[in-house]
């Protein structure tokens, strides 16, 4: 029993930390896809966010902002992510480009652009390492609660709590406000929404830019808490995994939250399974591919059918039938 608890005390915080960037980015994907725009570009938005987060932190560090710098870095990443997502928005909403192709191009562009700038500025393939970090904290009082305390409130990043709070906020905004209703309506039936006086393309621009903001934040949180610097290989597939979490969670904030935590667990287990009795003989590869296999099964309807928003991947042309 003690042994199990000890293991949970290491695995649960690790899983929550791994889940944080996935959760944030999945929330971004939710805004975009609920408005009817496929966002394969989440990966690229995370790359841009990781770059902006690190460069922003380095910049504010050099200005002497000290421990406020990583937080300002995250703000820079949110803004830059939203701006960068305009590429996808303009191409796929206004210019009616294929949304998937545009997303793929966004991923290429993000890696190319950021690594190009890093090389020009730092004269090497990666940035310097940030020295002002967001530290793991023990939450006062709550961390003293037996069992729950060490599991959920010890040695965690503040960003993790912010991410979970934001997910609840997203749920409220999308399902309980007029804005959310409009956003969902343009993703389900844009023509009906247009008839009701909702500006379809404007809602979609907002959806995509919010996905840029959240994706940028997700990338920055990953880079600042976990990686510490930025290179072309800092973000390798987290964006696609966030997309998987979104789909596995059936395009619902809480579903995506559950999926992100679950994927976080798989990730934490793949690193530390060797130390866990009963799991030490399970090859690491099973943990690595688990999120992807489950997503495929979810889509095929074996784990509850995942139905996308109806107008996903369709450009809206006024007056078309």
């Amino acid at each position: 029993m003690d042994m199990t608890l000890q293991i949970l005390y290491t695995i649960v915080p690790a899983a929550l930390i791994a889940a944080t960037p996935l959760l944030l980015t999945a929330m971004g994907g939710l805004f975009s896809e609920r408005s009817g725009i496929v966002n394969i570009g989440l990966e690229g938005l995370m790359v841009m966010g990781a770059f902006a987060g690190i460069v922003g932190t380095l910049f504010f560090e050099s200005l002497g902002f000290g421990f406020a710098s990583p937080w300002m870095g995250i703000l820079v990443a949110i803004v830059l992510g939203a701006i960068f997502s305009l590429f996808h928005a303009v191409a796929s909403i206004s210019l009616r480009a294929d949304q998937i192709v545009s997303g793929v191009a966004l991923n290429f562009l993000a890696v190319g652009l950021t690594v190009f700038i890093v090389r020009e500025v730092f004269d090497k393939g990666q940035t310097d390492t940030i020295s002002a970090r967001i530290f793991r904290i023990n939450v006062p009082f709550l961390s003293d609660i037996p069992i729950i305390g060490p599991m959920f409130f010890s040695r965690v990043y503040l960003t993790t709590y912010i991410a979970f709070a934001l997910a609840i906020l997203v749920w409220y905004v999308v399902f309980k406000t007029p804005f959310g209703l409009r956003l969902r309506s343009v993703g389900e039936h844009p023509m009906a929404a247009d008839t009701m006086g909702i500006k379809v393309n404007r809602m979609r621009y907002i959806g995509v830019m919010l996905s840029g903001a959240f994706g940028g934040m997700g990338g920055a949180v990953y880079a600042i808490t976990t990686a510490g610097n930025f290179a072309g290989g800092t973000i390798t597939g987290q964006g696609f995994m966030a997309l998987a979490a979104l789909i596995f969670g059936k395009w619902h904030p809480f579903g995506a939250m559950g999926a992100a935590v679950f994927f976080g667990f798989a990730q934490a287990l793949s690193i530390s399974a060797q130390q866990i009795p009963g799991l030490e003989n399970v090859p690491q590869v099973y943990m690595l591919i688990l999120p992807y296999v489950l997503t495929i099964l979810a889509l095929a309807g074996f784990v509850g059918k995942a139905e996308p928003p109806k107008a996903l991947n369709q450009p809206y042309e006024k007056g078309s039938r």
Binding site: I40, I100, S102, F108, G112, F116, Q284
Partner: protein, 353 residues
């Protein structure tokens, strides 16, 4: 008026204009970052044509790009977007190398067997999303993305645990399975150019033949144009979807075999994606999913990637610039609506006068 935009000439103009825009944007980026665009582009072009070695390497680089481009295009003709070329290429690479190492046979049997192994592995990796699409109406894009990661992790797992020879890679394949060519290498100043380049050209003809000269090809294209009409005409839409994804995967798998049997003669643990498969999307898109177009755009992208080395060495421009140019070219091709719109504006102004 609308006929003008559908003309054949305009179909060729869009990729060319997109390339022009892409290079223009690349030049502006060089200017902003304090480089001289002319020096940069001259170094880039010299890095492709300036030395027979560079040229040989360009042809070597374009070989897998042709295959991944053909793979994307083949599925696209049936109305499917195969983002999984990357994963299909990885399993094709691995299985062809596996056959190349494990089996001992004379070349005339061994080499085709190794390539076939790659094709079958790729086909299997395309078959799965094809079945899921046909049977459960699951969108192939998401499934293929997931299959990419599964491919990478599974292949890495096998190499790491069963085939590791030195460092991060497997043993070299037997010579009887190798596409390496002393002759092609010698005439290009010892580049890694291999026989696979000729196989790639043959594959371009093969795709053209299948799609445009056979009954099955007509069916596949027909399903791509209009699923419901094809179904009404008695074609088995689901079967064609599965077939298309499998053949597409096979093209990608052979592309992987070209890398494994030709360029490297081994497989290695991949820290991340090769991007050869993703580049195939760009190649197919720019080449308008035609064999000749794919060949030309594979040459362009292969050349850009090779020339980037020289551009860094001679002009001091970071090689990632070509990635930016490629990404922007995809944006411009995908947003051809913009080009059509500008064109129609210019045209109507002319008519106004």
């Amino acid at each position: 008026m609308t006929n003008m935009f559908k003309g054949k000439l305009f179909g060729i103009m869009i990729p060319l204009i997109a390339i022009g825009f892409g290079f223009l944007a690349g030049g502006i980026i060089m200017l902003i970052s304090g480089n001289n665009p002319i020096t940069g582009y001259v170094a880039l072009i010299q890095g492709i044509f300036g030395d027979i070695y560079y040229f040989g390497e360009t042809l070597q680089r374009m070989t897998p790009l042709i295959f991944s481009g053909l793979a994307v295009a083949f599925a696209f003709r049936t109305g499917l977007l195969n983002i999984g070329v990357e994963g299909q290429l990885i399993v094709g690479w691995f299985v062809s190398v596996l056959v190349g190492i494990v089996i001992e046979a004379p070349m005339i049997i061994h080499l085709p067997l190794a390539i076939l192994g790659g094709a079958l592995a790729g086909a299997l990796w395309g078959f799965v999303p094809g079945v899921l699409k046909a049977r459960f109406q699951v969108h192939e894009v998401i499934v293929t993305i997931m299959m990419n990661y599964i491919a990478m992790h599974v292949v890495n797992h096998f190499i790491r645990n069963y085939m590791l020879e030195s460092g991060q890679r497997t043993a070299f394949i037997n010579d009887s399975a190798s596409l390496s060519s002393d002759y092609l290498s010698a005439i290009t100043d010892f580049s890694r150019l291999h026989w696979g380049f000729l196989i790639a050209i043959a594959a371009c003809f093969l795709m053209w033949f299948i799609l445009w000269k056979t009954k099955k090809g007509f069916e596949l294209r027909s399903v791509g144009y209009n699923k419901h009409a094809s179904s009404y005409a008695g074609m088995n839409v689901n079967l064609n979807i599965i077939l298309s994804m499998s053949v597409s995967g096979a093209f990608a798998g052979v592309g992987g075999a070209m890398v494994g049997l030709g360029t490297y003669n081994y497989a290695n643990i991949l820290p991340g994606f090769t991007n050869l498969g993703f580049d195939g999307i760009a190649v197919a898109l720019l080449g308008s999913s035609t064999s000749i177009g794919i060949f030309l755009s594979a040459f362009l992208f292969g050349g850009l990637k090779e020339g980037a080395n020289n551009m860094q060495g001679q002009a001091g421009v970071a090689p990632e610039l070509v990635e930016i140019i490629i990404a922007l070219i995809i944006f411009f091709v995908a947003s051809s609506y913009l080009i059509r719109w500008i064109y129609s504006r210019v045209q109507s102004k002319k008519e106004g006068k």
